[in-house]
């Protein structure tokens, strides 16, 4: 049928540059690929233990633009300079995907302070510092932008498997989404979160590893595949979603209670 009236919905990201953290593998890798497919140039950030060059080459061979960024999430200077570095190669960063996080599996009373510090730095401090540097440049350049934080259903639901710090920091990331959305609304910077449940290669599968039959506990007897997050990511970065900010989208197939 004739498209009438045309739905106001575009997923064309041509001309935009995205920076994705934790993009070497798993969900972050998929996010980077989907953004490229939608027309964005993508800075692939990961720490030095995770090789990102193969992904950059793959994207460029397919005609996309990408650059690799070495990023230690516990190093504030590197976090700040990463945005400028991406901008130099690919142009002003208008989309930031805060995806990198580490899951902790230790009882609170047994957790080493070093692990606590790494988790707080990676899961809270890094996305905050990155978001601030991202926003600072956009505000100066008077450009609109989109931040998508990748939290986890562990923020709302924690079982007794040593996930206290992961769960706390995910809740903090969700609150960060809301507070920064309020603070930057006037600058047309939208801040939203995706809150995945158990996905293959997601953090939660690691955090809640209870053996091979995890899906049996869920109503639909399945864990998510990375591509089942495509529509939520594209919805949040879509140029048509200018009214969508300060919202956190649970994507968990109702695996967890409400």
């Amino acid at each position: 049928m004739r498209i009438w009236p045309a739905p106001q919905f575009s997923i064309d990201l041509t001309g935009q540059t995205a920076l994705v953290t934790g993009a070497a593998a798993g969900l972050g890798r998929r996010f980077a690929q989907v953004l490229v497919a939608a027309g964005a140039r993508v800075a692939i950030a990961a720490d030095r233990n995770d090789p990102v060059e193969p992904l950059v080459e793959e994207i460029e061979r397919a005609g996309g633009r990408a650059t690799a960024i070495r990023l230690d999430p516990t190093d504030a200077e590197q976090l700040i300079s990463s945005i400028g570095q991406a901008e130099q190669t690919l142009g002003p960063v208008t989309i930031l995907i805060n995806n990198a996080s580490i899951a902790t599996a230790a009882a609170a009373i047994d957790m080493q302070v070093e692990l606590l510090d790494t988790a707080l730095a990676t899961n809270l401090r890094a996305p905050y510092i990155l978001s601030c540097e991202f926003a600072r440049r956009l505000i100066y350049a008077r450009l609109p932008g989109r931040v998508v934080n990748v939290a986890s259903m562990a923020a709302y639901h924690c079982d007794d498997s040593g996930v206290s710090v992961y769960s706390m920091t995910c809740a903090g990331l969700i609150r960060m989404t809301e507070t920064l959305a309020v603070e930057w609304a006037k600058f047309n910077i939208n801040v939203n979160a995706i809150v995945p449940g158990f996905f293959r290669s997601g953090m939660m599968e690691v955090a809640f590893e209870h053996g091979p039959r995890l899906p049996d506990r869920f109503s639909r007897r399945r864990v998510g595949e990375p591509e089942q997050l495509d529509s939520s990511l594209l919805y949040l970065v879509s140029p048509s979603s200018s009214f969508v900010t300060g919202t956190c989208i649970k994507v968990d197939d109702a695996q967890l209670p409400r």
Partner: protein
Amino acid sequence: MNRLTPNYSLDLSGQVALVTGASSGLGRRFAQILAASGARLALAARRVDRLQALAEEIRAAGGKAAEIPLDVTDADQLAAAVDQAERTLGVVTILVNNAGAPDAQYATKMPVELIDQVISTNVRAPFILAREVARRLITHGLPGRIVNISSMLAYDYSHAGGSLYSITKATVVRMTEVLAVEWARYNINVNAIAPGAFHSEMMDAMIERTGEFRQRFPRQRMGRSEQLDGTLLHLVSPSSDFVTGTVVKVDDCQHPR
């Protein structure tokens, strides 16, 4: 080498959508967008003349639509509406619970009739409709999508004179969550949209009474109904099968968090 194709289809052909409150405002736009995406549309509301005009527009554009006169405060009519939609267009696979009633009154001044009307329209009707649709889907072994229209007033109540509206919209949020859990095993996804201040018949009537208030918002603007297109399409998209039990706030940060 081929580029990866994102998993994002907006093709609703073969599906039947029932939209309540389709005669005006957001509901009318939801119906148009679902029709433009290929769904057959059951248009429900009290004002039949408006439904007929919209149904004709959809048919003129090559779509299929049926008008269903419906007073959502009448439980018998709710079940009958779902039957009528099914007889005319096929099994309803998408339900948009959009019809809502404002109170615009101080709690102490609410007559019981108004209390009953608001609770009945905003909570009882969407619950009964969701059940009627889900029961038929379960019988046929079909997956489905339910989208409830809540409101940011479910979370933020800062101006007196809308307490029961706020209460009932919070109830819709919780209804969305509990039904998503209950029907997950049947592949029926239940989600909600919580819009901020959008232009609609209800809202424009309120602005008439109270004056403009958009200057209070960080972006000093009200929403236009087409700014909900992407949110509706995300929730009904065949690619969003993992998205259930979520409430999407769409308010441009008009409200605090």
